[in-house]
Structures are given as C-alpha cells and as structure tokens.
C-alpha cells in the first residue's frame, strides 16, 4: 500500500525504509553532518589539495610565472640532486631542525615543570610566555637584529662577555648563524610548546606521584618513571609538529640573514622562494617543494614509528 505524505522530507525518508534503499539509509542519516564538514572540505580542497596537485604538475615543467612554463618531464628531479645550493639548503635545514626541535622541547618542558609548580600567578606567566607567538615576526626580527649586533656593547655579546666569551658576529659567522636562528625561533615559539607540555602534565593523575612518594621514590625518579612515559603522546605531537614546522624555515632567514653569510643559512623553503619569485624558475621551485613534502612525510612516519615503539 502506498502511503502519501504532505511533508516531502518525511516522504523522502519513508522511501528509505524500502528494502532496496536500505543501503543508502546510513548515508542519508549522515548527510547533515557532511554538510557541516563541507565548508572545511571545500577550504581544504581549494587551498591545500589543489595547490599540491598543481605543484606536482609544475614540477615537471620548466619556466617561470611571468614567461610561462613548458613540459620537461622528470628533468628537474634529476638536476636538483646535482644542485650544490639545494644540497647546502637541505643540509642547513636538517642541521637547524636537529638543533631546534630537541632544544625547544627541553627548554619548554623545563619551563612547563617550573610553571606547574607555581602556586600563584600561573595564568599571568602563561600569558607572558605566549606573547612572542602573538607578535608579528617583523618587529621581532628587528629587535633580535639589534640584540645580535656584533659589537662588544651588543646585548647578547654583553651577556656572553660576563662569562668571558669574546664578542661574536652572531649573524655574520657561518658557524653561529644557524644557532642564532635557533635561539630566535625558540624564543618566538617556546610559549606554544610550553603550553602543550603544561596540558600534558595536567593529564597525569596526581595519585601516581603520591603513590610513588609513598613507595620512597625521589622527585627525579618520579619524573623519569612517571612524567616522561606519560608525556609520550605530547612528545610525539611536538616532535612531529616541530619537524613539520621547522623544516619549513623561512621567516627568520628572510628577515635576519637573507640566506647568508655565504649560503650558510640557506634553507629549502628560502631557496624555493628565491627560485619562484626572484629567479623565474617556478618549475624548479615546485620540484623542491614536492621533494620537501615527501621528506616531511617520511620523517613524520619514522618519528611516529620510533616514538611509539619506544
């Protein structure tokens, strides 16, 4: 018997009761949730997926934004591994990431542990440490350029002079330029890392520390056997995100060093930018971008495996 409905929506849903339409019932029920996701999915598609696909297509081309591109097949992928500057940029980026991620983690964890012990002004301190992250990178770079000046009276040189170290040319020395960028980037981002660690510390049940204390464990043993293992998800998150973010080093190079001295602070993304906008080599820049994407994916996978196994 056919039932009729004045309400068309109810009528449509009624159709789904028919045995042949049963398979679509799940989808229909979920439609409204997909509709909520649609704006984000559109945004993701337009601003993430399409550029990545387009970059992949461009990586098989030669030429630039202004004069246009021509198809050259995999030639860019062959040439790039013989490009000394690309290898230098890769080495610099790896070196910088190896320095910055563990240093930032160590410093931020230390700070988080300190803040966690604070009885008063905890929120005020949290706001203060988060402020550099909220500031624009440009004024921060101007300030740090002044801190890094190589004269004896430069602020940083004054501080190191107190412990007997002679004045250093922080941004002008190939040996010191990347550690200087590390210092800048840790100072800029430690607020976020510290807050994430604070969040992680907050999830550790207090009762575990109390039980450990009862069993005679020292604070160091509690830290080693309770805090660190239970912070593993936080470490994994920060390690993965840290590598992803810092492998894309660009701001500090652009504002502090312009890739110098020599090519000592040339990063991959900086080289990509220079090729795309200054050298009219968009295809080549896209090739390096795609290679960077795969490198980050591989490193992320390895990190997850390594940290999860441990």
């Amino acid at each position: 018997m056919v039932r009729t409905f004045q309400n068309p929506i109810r009528g449509s849903l009624e159709i789904l009761r028919w045995p042949k339409m049963r398979v679509y019932r799940g989808l229909a029920k979920s439609v409204k949730w997909y509709m909520f996701l649609l704006p984000y999915m559109l945004f993701y598609f337009i601003f993430l997926a399409v550029p990545i696909i387009w970059s992949l297509i461009l990586s098989f081309q030669k030429g630039g934004l202004l004069a246009g591109t021509t198809f050259v097949g995999p030639k860019n992928y062959q040439v790039v591994w013989h490009d000394k500057l690309f290898i230098t940029a890769l080495r610099n980026t790896a070196y910088y990431t190896i320095l910055v991620v563990p240093s930032a983690m160590f410093f931020s964890l230390f700070l988080a542990l300190l803040i966690n012990q604070m009885q008063r002004f905890q929120n005020f301190v949290k706001v203060c440490i988060f402020l550099p992250l909220l500031s624009s990178a440009v004024p921060l770079a101007i300030v740090w350029k002044a801190l890094f000046i190589p004269e004896r009276e430069g602020p940083l040189n004054y501080l190191v002079g107190l412990v007997g170290i002679p004045p250093q040319n922080w941004l002008g020395s190939p040996m010191l330029v990347i550690p200087s960028i590390v210092i800048f980037e840790i100072w800029r981002g430690y607020g976020f890392w510290t807050l994430v660690f604070l969040g992680g510390l907050g999830t550790i049940p207090q009762v575990l520390y109390e039980a450990a204390e009862v069993d005679g464990a020292s604070p160091w043993e509690s830290f080693l056997h309770i805090t660190l293992p239970l912070l593993r998800p936080t470490f994994l998150f920060l390690a993965v995100m840290g590598v992803i973010w810092n492998f894309q080093l660009f701001d500090a190079v652009y504002m502090l060093t312009y890739g110098g001295p020599g090519n000592a602070s040339y990063s991959i993304v900086w080289y990509v930018y220079r090729n795309a906008f200054h050298f009219e080599k968009l295809g080549y820049a896209a090739t390096m971008g795609i290679l960077l994407l795969f490198m980050i994916l591989i490193l992320t996978g390895l990190q997850r495996k390594f940290i999860e196994i441990r």
């Binding site: 934004l65 004069a67 190589p150 040319n169 941004l171 110098g260 050298f279 009219e280």
Partner: protein, 425 residues
Amino acid sequence: MIRWKKWILLALVVCVGVFILGTIANAKVTVTLWKASHGADPKIMPPILKAFEEANPDIKVDFLSHPWEGWDERYTMAFVAETPPDVSYMPDEFWPKFAVAGLLAKFDELFPEDLDVMKKDYPDAFWRLTKFRGHQYGVPYLWVAIVLFYNEDIFDKAGLTYPPSDTKDPYFPKWTWDEFVRVAKALTNPDKDQWGYAWSAAFRDPNYLYPFFYQAGTDVLDIEKNRAAFDGPEGIKAFQFMVDLVHKYKVVPADGMHPRFHEVFYEGKAAMGPVESYSVVVIRTQYPELKVGAAFNPQGPGVDFHSGRGGFGNSGYWVMAKACENKDAAWKLINWLTTKENGQTFCDGVGLFGCRNDFGPDPKEPLYKVFWDSTPFLPGYPLHPRLRQAHSLIMAEAQEAVLLEKTPDQAIKDAAAAVNAALQE
C-alpha cells in the same frame, strides 16, 4: 496583492536608472599607479597626482605606495593575475624580466613621435637603459649613486687631508687604492672600536661589492656574449682587494660581515664609508651631529674602465603594462610625472636625483655635488632578465671569499660558472 508588486518593480526601475545615469556621469578613466616608496612618497606624490587630475578631469589616478620588501612577489602576482598596475616604477634590474615575458608596453611602437621629442631631455646614458632587445620600455625617472663619505672629526684629529671632492683637487690623482688603504690603516684603532672603512659583504644587494669590480677594470656582465665579464684577472683583483681590506689591512669592522655597517659610520665609529644619495637625508635628520664630507672613490688599477673610479649607480623608470586599457591616459600620466617641475619636486623631497638633463643637485645640500660630479664614473647596471639571480650568486661567492672559505681566485671562478649557467637558462 498586485499593488505591492507594482511598487517593488517601480523601485527597482528607479534604482537601476539612477545607477546607469551615475555611471555615465562619472565615466572617468582610471589609471593605476604603483611605486615602491623612497620614504616620503605618501606625502609628496598625492599633490602631484591631484594636480594631474585637475589638469585632466577625465582621468582618475589610483596611487599605491608600497614598501620595497616583497617587491617581486607583489608585481609578479599582479602581472600573472592580469591585474597589473597600468603605470609602475621599476628600477633597471627589475623590469627586463617583465619585458622579456611580453608584459610591458613598447613605447617605440605606441608613441614614437613623443619619444623623439622626449629623448632630447635625457642624457644618453639613461636613455640607452630604457631599451631592451630593440624596444623601448621605460621613461627614465630617478637615479641613485654611492660615493665615499668621510668623518671630518676623525680626519681632523689625525691631521689627515680629507679625500678629494673635486676633480681639480691636487689630491685627486693621488687618491688611489694604495692611498686609500694607507689612510684607512692610519685611522683604524680596533681597541677604540674605530675603523678606517665601514664596509660589509653581509648585504643582500651587490651595491657595495660591484665598485671593486669597476675600479679593478671590469664590468659585471657581458651582455653581447651573454656571460659573466668579471672572470678575468680584474675580477680576481677586485675580490683580492676586498679580502685584503678585511684580513690583511684589517680596516673593516666585524671581519667584513657586519650586518648593519651603515650604523658603524653614522655612529662615528668609522673614518670612511660608502653612502647612498638617499642616505644624506638620514644623516641630516637622524645623525645631525655627524660632520661628514663626500668624496670620489679611489682609483683602482682599471684606469681604462670609467677611469678606475667606478662606483655603484642605478636608475629607475616608469613603465606601462601591456594590459593597460587606457594607454593614452597612462602615457599622459608618465609625461606629467617626468616634467622638470614634478620630477624635481619629488626628487628634492626624497633625496634622490632626477634623470633629466635639466635637473641638478639641490643647492641647499652641498653633499649632493659629489654625486653629480661622479656620474662620468658610473657604469650602471647591465640590463638582463637574470641580473638579480646573478647578483645573489656573485654575492654568495664574495661572502665565501671574505669568510676565507675560498680563495678570491676560486670564488671568482665559481661565481662566473654559476652566473654563466644562470644566464644560459
């Protein structure tokens, strides 16, 4: 029921009619104008443009003054998106790549008669730089130079003669690289943080490097052969002199890699330093107690190339986008901007020099005279779409040489190889 629909329809018709009439009444042509700011542009340009609009009531100018940072990205994306500015200011090292891509209007095809008249107002040196591969793309507007400035107090305390600021000065023919080094050494005292020459290789542009090439007797690029010109003994001499200033004579601060070497001079810690024409305003306003003089560059061994006293100089041009829809209106604007009166107003306001024959240094500022007098010694940039890539390749090798990571010989060879590879692409 029907009545309200009638009223809505009537209201719609009235709105559309008003809109159409308004559009017809305001049928002005809009010309977009972009210029990277030389400091006082937001203050100086609007009155010039307002006067243009009053003289041309059917033309409206939409002016954008923007910072130099991000210049490439801004203009590249504007041209690629087919929304370029109708008229823009482009220095000589920037515009050839747009011309090669066919994105700039060819003035020799659009306004040949006007160019024949205009040409008489400009020296050949600037007019020549408006042409690329047989077509004219720009109208000269501004030029910039770097000459040697000296700190009068430091020279007075040491009892030394100021470097020459007049070609008739008896000291002028004796002002050579050797004499420059002698004076710089005499005025260097690292213990008192005083340096003979405020210079650094840690600079993103080669403005402070290329004069060594010129004074040694070579240019940067050989445009006809499309290759590096500096890979001979002259280029090696240039790099060697640069390295010697840092490591042999030790007259330069921070081992030649100071990130803010201008401030070393402005703060009175250096006897001499290279200073741009537009920095005179900075010195006068921010460092009024600094007593300075301007002098010619010392003569290097390359006496056959601009008398061995070559210095940095480059120029900027008004160009028009090929996609400009109102080329006649845009051309009128370019003509307006490059009149003597408007050009001089702008130049005096920002401390730059105009390219026209009838321009002269601002008599109120005596330091400008040396810049003008040094124009015979300025080779200017070679026009090439890959010039900026060549800059960064040469700068990187210069820095490696100053850091003693390579010998000057090796650095020149590597720089030339990299530049030649880039130019052939």
